[in-house]
């Protein structure tokens, strides 16, 4: 095994869990999350970046973008159903959520995509506002205001539940 391959493997083993969890919170189910992460690593393999740090940032952005793509596909699938509305839960509601946090996760998932992404990156991935902005390709000011609006919206929605 070459050193480059070894680095890729190490990166894969060390980053996989965190990235799948990030994708899970954006996509809503583990199967979809694993697919997103696998595709992100595949893209990285094809275009290896210069350093491990940039690789981690690349993977994070790739996972966010991939999660958006999955969400879009599912939205299209739901808008154009083959038959009458399905009886079961939507694919992106297939998460195990503790009862005490169910209302929080449900409220989070009802937020606009950008707000949801900012909040997940900030409060799950523990990124700074600058890192959030970098991951999403937005300005720091936009990241900050989006996070603030997202928290406000969550507070409003959860006001009666807490």
């Amino acid at each position: 095994m070459t050193s480059a391959a070894l680095d890729f493997e190490t990166l894969y083993q060390t980053q996989w869990h965190a990235l799948v969890r990030l994708a899970l919170l954006l996509v809503g189910d583990r199967g979809g999350a694993e697919d997103v992460v696998q595709e992100a690593f595949l893209n990285l393999y094809r275009r290896p970046p210069a350093s491990v740090d940039s690789a981690a940032a690349y993977l994070r952005t790739s996972v966010v973008n991939g999660s958006r793509s999955v969400a879009r596909k599912r939205l299209v699938a739901r808008k154009h159903p083959f038959a009458p509305a399905p009886d079961g839960p939507a694919a992106d509601q297939n998460m195990l959520v503790a009862a005490e946090y169910e209302h929080v996760i449900r409220a989070l998932r009802s937020l606009p995509r950008r707000q949801r992404e900012v909040l997940v990156l900030r409060y799950w991935s523990e990124l700074s506002l600058a890192e959030v902005a970098d991951a999403l390709g937005i300005s720091v000011g936009t990241a900050k205001s989006t996070a603030s609006r997202g928290l406000d919206a969550l507070e409003r929605m959860l006001g009666g539940a807490r």
């Binding site: 697919d35 690593f41 399905p86 503790a98 807490r162």
Partner: protein
């Protein structure tokens, strides 16, 4: 977060909810699938040979055209009479699936639906290939079909996918790994339990792409029957915790209330020691699997799902 702004209660609530949900769905014991090395993916594996074959054919056509011209022939190149070899229809020979559950030893026995009684003292593992869905897309004799009741989206490759007519990770039943075969243009038949002989019919959600690139041609190992009768299905996710005696191991097969199969990470064969004629696994009791010692069990039967026809 920034250190200079007061924390809002909603921030801590959200953080806890995210952490709990993330860890609950993707526990530390979850094992990453094989790293996505494109060289091992069938789609990539075949690009080079196909290009090489195309070059060879082009050269052969050119040479023949030159000869025909030299002989005064008039066969246009576009309608070459070069005897192209018929493409192989089997596709089964050596296509290594990208799944980490790749079936290294090929099964030698074929059976439609047959669940024989337990083997008392097996000396070797019997490999059985199941064909739950016929090439026509109809269920094989002996299998019953029930309605899954909802549309599914098949937009990824399942580790346990088999490659009959459709192989994909299908949601919303992603936590229950199963082999799905395309039964009709908009339907899939999915096998979730080799012993139930029941196929679940799902509608395929309209517009959902069906990715067949990972469809293996080889049968996929899908279930185990241990020597003492314990039946094991592929692990279906969720938190399994950590074995105190083997903290780096992970769970590979679910065997019911009696226990589960665990093994080291990585494992070439999903926790199965295939070095002998009788395969073996490590079983840890479910009730106290975090502390109790495991036992080594022989694998009496290994059930494969047929690959792409």
């Amino acid at each position: 977060m920034t250190g200079d702004e007061p924390q809002r209660p909603i921030e801590e609530t959200l953080r806890r909810a995210l952490v709990d949900t993330a860890l609950r769905n993707v526990p530390n014991a979850a094992r990453p699938p094989a790293s996505p090395d494109p060289a091992r993916r069938p789609a990539f594996r075949w690009i080079a040979p196909l290009l090489a074959a195309a070059v060879v054919v082009a050269v052969a056509v050119s040479v023949l055209a030159v000869r025909l011209t030299a002989d005064g022939g008039h066969t246009p190149i576009g309608h070459s009479s070069v005897p192209f070899p018929a493409p192989s229809s089997s596709g089964h020979s050596s296509s290594a699936p990208s799944s980490p559950i790749a079936p290294t030893p090929q099964p030698t026995t074929s059976a439609r639906v047959h669940v024989p009684p337990p083997i008392p003292r097996p000396t070797q593992t019997k490999k059985i290939t199941l064909h739950p869905v016929l090439r026509s897309g109809r269920p094989a004799p002996g299998y019953t079909v029930r309605d899954g009741g909802s549309a599914i989206v098949c937009d990824g490759i399942s580790r346990f996918a088999v490659g009959a007519l459709i192989t994909a990770a299908c949601t919303p039943s992603a936590e229950g790994p199963f082999g799905c075969y395309r039964a009709a243009a908009t339907q899939a038949l999915c096998l979730q339990d080799v012993w139930e002989r029941t196929l679940v019919r799902y509608r395929l959600a309209a517009g959902a792409p069906i990715d067949r690139t990972g469809a293996g041609t080889d049968p996929r190992l899908f279930a185990l029957e241990l020597a003492h009768g314990m039946r094991c299905k592929p692990r279906s996710g969720g938190a399994w915790g950590i074995l105190q005696r083997h903290p780096t191991w992970t769970g590979y097969w679910e065997c019911g209330a009696a226990g589960d199969v665990w093994g080291p990470v990585p494992s070439a064969h999903e926790g199965i020691d295939m070095s002998g004629q009788l395969w073996t696994v490590h079983v840890f009791p479910f009730a106290a699997q975090h502390t109790a010692p495991g036992v080594v069990r022989g694998v009496a039967r290994a059930y494969y799902l047929a690959g792409r026809h």
